[in-house]
Structure formats: structure tokens, C-alpha cells
């Protein structure tokens, strides 16, 4: 058996591949649910019902999708330029931590809501940017592989957050619980639906992929970043300023992940703890890959993950299947998606 590169990819295949990949992942995970002694069809029914079946379920899914869209987009823009930013989790936490930190400044806490919100969002994005610039400078200057540096920084940042919320940013009113001072009330994101957690951050999360899509397809920077990803050497030969492009990509990617953290803390929780993120940063990597690095595809992939996570939680309660099944399904989809994309580009010959 061998593989032969297709001359052109049939459009139908491009559409079918992701669907088949997700279906394959669901079938394999179905086997694991059966292993738990439960009917997979019932389980998937309950997942869908949990994610869509009620007003609360639906808003919860959208709330969950909000940070996932942003961390997914952060990974997608970086990967497009072959910048392996695996540090989304750390950037997310830095972005989140920046909000209560800057909220301590009197002029932020006292500002009218739109201005306070804007300042906090910018602070979050900047914090994420700065965190990613370090590894990128190490990559450009010393040739240090960014996969490991960005990853190791995730562990450092969570410890840093823990240090801050037990130290300089500790909330004195939290009865000794390690949590940060609250987000200033002026900087809290407004709710979209009453008596749910859905907040205005969703609108930002839906708008940004459009912006990035425009940036990638219509600007010189977008062209250069894609060229850097396709073939760095050829791009450099063609006059693309590689270092500058990578720095800009890093700003965009780190900024988006930091923004995700800022929005999460401003919209949902109101203060920072070390369990603010159930691995949103890592999930973003999968989402970017599921979306085939396309900024608009990120929205669909993030929604898929959010449905799985929210739905699996309620399914888990009803059936007693461990809720880790959601992570299994999403991770499996990534692997099956890789194979599906391969099969759109190659044909199998005996």
C-alpha cells in the first residue's frame, strides 16, 4: 500500500473530511462509553440535550465557547506562521491576572464603565503579548525551540499567579482563600441574558475571528505571516522580514490568549484563582487544529468543544460515565482530523 499526492483536492472532500473525522472520533469514544457499561447513543443524546436542551444549557455552552474561540484563534494565528505557541494557558492566566492588578489603580476603578472595560481588555492583551515575546526572542536570538519554552512557562505562570493571589493581589476579604482582589465593578462585562452567565465577551469573541480573517487575507502582514509558515527560507528570499513578522504574529497570538483570560475574569468569575481555566489554553491548540487553522473555522471548532464539555458534564451526572470522556472525544477528533486532512491530499493505492 502506498500514498500518492492528489493533483487537486475535490471540494466535496474538503467539506466531508472534518465531518467524517468527528464522526470517527465519536464512534471510537462510543466504544469507551460502552466500556463503562452505558449505551453510547443514550450518552450522546444526553450530551446534546445537556448542551442545547435548556436555556441554561445553551447559554452555558456559549459562555464556555467564548474563551475557547479566543485561545483557539491565538493558537491558529501562531501555527499559521509556524510559530509553535503552546503557551496559551500561561498567556491566558497572565491576561486574567492583569485585570485585578490594573484595577487597583484608582483611575481605572473610578472610570466610567466603557473606559474601565477597555483599559482592562488592553492590559490583559498586553500581558499575554509580553509573555509570548520572551520565547520568540529566545527563538530568534538563540535558536531555542519555542515549543518547550512556551510550555514550561505555563507552569511558571500558574505558580506566579498562585504567588500573587497569596501575596500582593490577595483579597483580604476572602476569608483566607487564595483568590485575587475582585475586578473593579466598572470593568465587569455586562450580561447578555438575564440570570445566566452569558456575557458580552461572546460578542468580542465572535468579532475577532472576522478581524483576523480580514487581516490574514487582505493585508501585507497576513500574507507575510502565511508565507513565513509555508516556507520560511523562500519567504526570507522573497524579502519577507521574518523576525519582524514573527514578532508581530507573537503579539497577535499572545494578545488573543491574554484577552481570553481578561474576558473570562471580567465576564464570569470576577476574580482570579488558580483554577480559573479548565485547560482553555491547551484546548485552544486542539481547536486551532480542528479548524484547520482557519479563523472562522475556529468558531465552529470551539462550539463543538464547548458542546462536548458542557454536555458531558450533565451526561456524566446522569449516567455516571466519567466526564473526562469530553477531553477524550476532543483529543480523538484532533487525531482523526489529522488523518482525514491527509486523506484529502493523498490517495491510497495498493
Amino acid at each position: 500500500m502506498r500514498f500518492e499526492r492528489r493533483d487537486s483536492v475535490p471540494p466535496a472532500l474538503t467539506v466531508l473530511a472534518p465531518i467524517c473525522a468527528v464522526l470517527a472520533a465519536l464512534v471510537i469514544a462510543g466504544g469507551l462509553i460502552a466500556l463503562a457499561g452505558r449505551n453510547p447513543v443514550t450518552a450522546y443524546g444526553l450530551i446534546l440535550q445537556g448542551a442545547f436542551g435548556s436555556r441554561l444549557g445553551l447559554t452555558e455552552t456559549l459562555t464556555r465557547a467564548t474563551p475557547l474561540i479566543l485561545t483557539g484563534l491565538a493558537a491558529a494565528v501562531a501555527f499559521r506562521a509556524r510559530l509553535w505557541n503552546i503557551g496559551g494557558e500561561g498567556q491566558f492566566y497572565m491576561g486574567a491576572l492583569a485585570v485585578p492588578a490594573i484595577g487597583l489603580l484608582p483611575f481605572v476603578a473610578g472610570a466610567p464603565a466603557p473606559i474601565a472595560i477597555l483599559i482592562c481588555l488592553i492590559a490583559g492583551a498586553l500581558a499575554g503579548m509580553v509573555l509570548l515575546l520572551g520565547p520568540v526572542i529566545l527563538k530568534l536570538r538563540f535558536g531555542v525551540d519555542e515549543v518547550v519554552t512556551t510550555l514550561l512557562l505555563n507552569f511558571v505562570v500558574v505558580l506566579f499567579v498562585s504567588m500573587m493571589i497569596e501575596g500582593a493581589l490577595k483579597d483580604p476579604l476572602a476569608f483566607g482563600w487564595p483568590q485575587s482582589v475582585p475586578v473593579p465593578p466598572a470593568a465587569e462585562l455586562p450580561q447578555l441574558v438575564d440570570r445566566t452567565r452569558l456575557h458580552a465577551g461572546l460578542l468580542i469573541a465572535l468579532a475577532l475571528p472576522l478581524g483576523v480573517w480580514w487581516l490574514q487575507s487582505r493585508t501585507v502582514f497576513g500574507l507575510q505571516s502565511r508565507a513565513a509558515g509555508l516556507n520560511a527560507r523562500a519567504a526570507a528570499f522573497a524579502g519577507v522580514p521574518l523576525a519582524r513578522t514573527l514578532m508581530l504574529v507573537a503579539c497577535l497570538s499572545g494578545g488573543l490568549a491574554g484577552l481570553a483570560g481578561a474576558i473570562e475574569v471580567m465576564g464570569v468569575k470576577g476574580y482570579v484563582t488558580t483554577d480559573l481555566s479548565p485547560n482553555y489554553g491547551y484546548a485552544g491548540i486542539v481547536i486551532a487544529m480542528l479548524a484547520h487553522l482557519h479563523p472562522l473555522g475556529v468558531i465552529a471548532a470551539a462550539l463543538f468543544s464547548a458542546v462536548m464539555f458542557v454536555g458531558a458534564d450533565s451526561m456524566s451526572r446522569a449516567l455516571g460515565v466519567p466526564s473526562y470522556i469530553a477531553d477524550v472525544i476532543v483529543a480523538l477528533s484532533l487525531l482523526t482530523m489529522l488523518v482525514a486532512i491527509f486523506l484529502t491530499q493523498y490517495r491510497v493505492r495498493r
Partner: protein, 313 residues
């Protein structure tokens, strides 16, 4: 200063160094083997989690400790085969596949663990490997308790370093592995199938990663809990660069890293006016520093991350 001196002079500290180094030795050797044959294996963090889980579960359900180790190695090898199939046979991106395997292997491990052990208030434990004093040698002053009163897997890790150093540099198989990492086309011309060799080597390397995880549950601790690997896998990837892709230096790197880890742990309890998180950050920051220092001298296997397809240029 006397605090630091006390720590450095205690036998317990140096005994701990070797213990902490053991999973790093297994993991770094595993990652090194994969990279030597030309394939980056970022699945290590997940494979370690899976090895830790399956090793523990085997013992928990009645198997003996070595059966647990074998199960972890086997589990690791299976994920290695999967990585090999995707990256070598299909030529998919090694970065992405590795990350996918890490995410899948770890969530799969947690799922199976929860299935076998539904939520209990305290995690169930097993009877782990006990220190196995080497006759005569363990009676040596100072060195005896440090080197020769460790658990059996630690001895195994040390033997593996010597074995791999010999295998890679002194046998035809080792030459073939190293050559495949440099120039698979040349290996192919010699009549050795680089694709089969790559897949087999990744499976073997991943088996070692599984053992690295199993050491955590079967010797270092006696129970399994999610997130117990704690980035050790990524540290191993950094240590491979520090080791310049050589088994002997991998041992050195693992020991150096473990030294700082053991040291910070003891300093943390001795000094209380510095936030403990700063000490916990040290191992990760140190790994980054090691990468920076070694990046200049790094002689990366030439064909690392380049898929090989017959008859395609």
C-alpha cells in the same frame, strides 16, 4: 548559609536526587531515542500519564510490581506505534501529532482511572517498590545509602543509560538508528528500511516514556492522581537538547535537574520568608536556561522532523 550547607551535607538529600532523577532518566532516554531516529515525540507528557495510570492499575488489580512496569512499557509502545504510524507512515506534522497524543493519552488515562476507581474521598494506594540495598556495596559509608539503597527501577534506569550508550555507538543497530536520524535516504540505499526502523525505535522510546510514568506511581508515590506528571515530560524534551542527544549526558542532565529539585524542596521548608512558589518555579526556569545555554552547541539530528517517503524528494 549554614542552612544550605546542612542540606548539601545530608545523605537524604543526595538519595532523593537519584530518586527524583529516575523518571527523568527514563523519559529523556525515551525522547532521545525517538529524536535520534529522526522523530520528535511530544507525546511524552501524555504517555507518562498513561504509563503512571496503567502501571498503578495493574498493581492495584492484583498484578505484581514488575507486571505493572511491563504494562506501562507496553502501553507506551502502543502510543509510540500510533505516533509512528501518523508521523512516519503518513508523514504528518510531528509537532501536532505529538501534542494530539499527549492530549489523548492523558485524558484517556484519567478516563480509565475514573472508570476503575469511581470518586473516592482519598485515592486508593498500593504497596510500592521498596529500596533494594545492594549487598556489600550498600554498607559503604555515605555512597552506600546514596547509590546502593535505591529501588529496583532506579538501578534499571542506570543500566539503561549504559546499555543505550553502548547500543547507539557500538552496534550496527545503533549506527543504523543514528544514520536514520541524519540521512534516511542513505540508510535506505544500504538495504535497511528506514520507515520500519523509525517506527520500531519510536515504539521502544515510548515504552521507556511509559516506564518513566510508572516509576511515579509504583516507586516515587503509591497512588495515581491526574496532573501528577506535572510537566516532567516537557522537562525531558528540554533535557534531550541539554544532553546534546547523548545518553551519558542525559544522565548528567537528569541528575543536575533532580539536584536543583531536591534542593529547592528542602530549602523551601528551611526558609520561610520567601514565597514557596519561587522555589517551585526553579526547575522549570532552569530547564529554559539549559535550553538557552545548549542551543548554541546543539547538533540536532539532520533529518529530525523530516518525513521520509520512498521515491519522493
Amino acid at each position: 548559609m549554614s542552612v544550605i550547607l546542612d542540606i548539601l551535607l545530608s545523605v537524604g538529600m543526595w538519595e532523593a536526587v537519584l530518586r527524583i532523577a529516575t523518571p527523568l532518566i527514563f523519559g529523556t532516554l525515551g525522547a532521545l531515542l525517538c529524536e535520534r531516529v529522526g522523530v520528535l515525540n511530544l507525546g511524552i507528557e501524555g504517555v507518562m500519564a498513561f504509563g503512571a495510570m496503567i502501571g498503578w492499575l495493574t498493581v492495584y488489580s492484583g498484578g505484581d510490581l514488575w507486571a505493572g512496569m511491563a504494562a506501562a512499557a507496553l502501553g507506551g509502545a502502543v502510543f509510540g506505534l500510533l505516533h509512528g504510524l501518523l508521523t512516519v507512515s503518513l508523514g504528518l506534522s510531528q509537532h501536532v501529532t505529538g501534542l494530539g497524543i499527549t492530549l489523548f493519552a492523558s485524558s484517556f488515562a484519567y478516563y480509565i482511572f475514573r472508570l476503575a476507581v469511581p470518586t473516592a474521598s482519598s485515592p486508593p494506594t498500593i504497596e510500592p517498590f521498596r529500596p533494594l540495598p545492594v549487598p556489600v556495596l550498600s554498607d559503604l559509608p555515605v555512597l552506600g545509602p546514596i547509590l546502593f539503597n535505591q529501588t529496583a527501577p532506579t538501578y534499571l534506569a542506570l543500566i539503561l543509560v549504559a546499555f543505550l550508550a553502548w547500543m547507539l555507538y557500538r552496534t550496527p543497530l545503533g549506527l543504523a538508528i543514528r544514520m536514520t536520524g541524519e540521512n534516511p535516504r542513505a540508510v535506505d540505499a544500504q538495504g535497511i528500511d528506514p520507515i520500519a526502523l523509525r517506527i520500531a525505535t519510536i515504539a521502544a522510546g515510548s515504552a521507556l516514556m511509559g516506564l518513566a510514568g510508572a516509576f511515579l506511581t509504583l516507586a516515587a508515590f503509591n497512588s495515581f492522581f491526574p496532573t501528577m506528571v506535572q510537566g516532567r515530560g516537557w522537562v525531558c524534551i528540554a533535557l534531550v537538547v541539554f544532553a546534546l542527544w547523548r545518553p551519558g549526558r542525559a544522565l548528567l542532565g537528569a541528575l543536575l535537574f533532580a539536584f536543583f529539585d531536591a534542593f529547592q524542596l528542602r530549602l523551601q521548608t528551611a526558609v520561610d520568608d520567601i514565597p514557596y512558589q519561587l522555589f517551585l518555579m526553579m526547575p522549570y526556569l532552569l530547564s529554559i536556561l539549559a535550553l538557552i545555554v545548549m542551543a548554541r552547541r546543539a547538533k540536532v539530528p539532520q533529518a529530525l522532523m523530516q518525513p521520509y517517503r520512498r521515491g519522493e524528494r
